[in-house]
Symmetry: C2
Subunit: 257 residues, 2 copies
């Protein structure tokens, strides 16, 4: 029973690379028990056990910098560290779950590259509402542009459309959180800028110059006139409507001056 391992032996025992041991040595995370006169590293049982501890925390995704203190400080509050760590892992996992959903949707869309009918374009709204929505759009912007927009949208890969819609949701979500802020504040205007860019993309993919600032102001009116735009989590929110109106008007004015 030799209480004495070379780098390679220890590496093999613990299932890590020699380089890793070199690194841990340099980081003072795991120093060899001694060095031979030719500077060869020699490790003992104590080091083997410590290495196993290190690898345990590594499995838990702790950064190396944190593992040293954990092992060296006997009073370290490991439970708290683990609980905190757990939170971040949960966050990561949830993020991945969201990604999976996004991918699924995207793949779903991609499998049928272009949309086949208007119903899908206005999906998620009842038919009468879709009709009313379209009529409003025609009234505001004229039939020609609406027709061209619909054509562009129909020929657009679903991916982009999905992205636009996802962006819309994201923007709306962020704006809802800001509803108590000043509509002219930077935070709000930042999102409004995104909103503007998004709307512009939505209504004029091939020629974004079609959405003039004036038209955007018109859209602000719509936001107040049409409940659908200002419905948050299933119920109408007039406060949000007013907020959006002010924010959009402010944005449009700042663009004009």
């Amino acid at each position: 029973m030799k209480d004495d391992y070379s780098v390679k032996q220890l590496a093999k025992l613990a299932g890590v690379s020699v380089r890793t041991l070199h690194l841990y040595d340099k980081l003072n995370l795991l120093n060899p028990s001694i060095r031979t006169e030719s500077r060869y590293r020699r490790y003992g049982e104590k080091e083997l056990l410590r290495l196993q501890q290190i690898l345990f925390y590594k499995v838990l995704d702790f950064p190396l910098k944190e593992i040293g203190p954990i092992l060296d400080d006997p009073d370290f509050d490991l439970v708290k560290a683990l609980e905190g760590h757990k939170e971040s892992i949960i966050t990561k996992r949830d993020h991945l779950t969201t990604l999976l959903q996004t991918i699924d949707k995207t793949v779903d869309h991609l499998k049928n590259k272009t949309m086949s009918n208007y119903e899908e374009l206005y999906e998620g709204m009842p038919k009468e509402e879709a009709e009313a929505y379209r009529n409003e759009a025609v009234e505001k912007w004229g039939e020609a542009i609406v027709l061209r927009s619909e054509k562009a949208l129909l020929e657009m890969p679903k991916l982009n459309l999905g992205q636009l819609k996802a962006d819309q949701k994201d923007i709306a979500g962020k704006l809802v959180l800001l509803v108590n802020e000043n509509p002219e504040s930077g935070l709000v205007q930042e999102q409004i800028a995104r909103h503007y860019a998004n709307i512009r993309s939505f209504w004029g993919v091939s020629d974004p110059t079609d959405l003039k600032i004036g038209t955007y102001k018109g859209l602000a009116d719509l936001y107040v006139a049409d409940d659908r735009y200002t419905t948050v989590e299933g119920k109408t929110n007039p406060v949000f409507a007013a907020f959006m109106y002010k924010a959009m008007m402010c944005f449009a004015d700042s663009k004009l001056k």
Copy 2:
């Protein structure tokens, strides 16, 4: 509506940093539409849209190197890429889930630093078996060492014990897969080496020199004598028993020579 953005403007619009745009330019992922005579970057609507595409794939965790080809090659099989990507994300997520379980167990153990009784030490085995197990150990190694080992184990933070047990499971699992290999082969002996180290830790934390190679050979006998050691997924496996015996004896002999 100016079809013309500076780095800063575009960065703000898309919610990225200027540095990011510089980087994308260098990577030829997103080049400016033109450069002014003083080499200032100028971007148009086309670049804005492309940037949004890039960010979409980035959200999906695609490395930048893969995003370029996706956008540039119209024949790129996006669906296949996404499906493959999905697999890796699922793997990652499952990994995180495992981590969470490990953390939970660890925290659970840590909250009661030392074990309170022998039952927990031999947890998972029926009492009579535990008794028989202990008697066998006493017979083989003497009462003194068993008592001392138990004491050491009882005073050991559960964390380590859990780790040892987990390692045991892991080692056993790997060995089961190798049962058709030559017991003297490198693959097998590698795991046996781990097994040896683990057993040594288990029976002599404070003084690992207590497990002599001879004792390990004795343990090899036990593996054949005791069904419990060679039970795989609920049922006894004599083939595995013989395999372990050979592998352990080989290991011990190679250590002695």
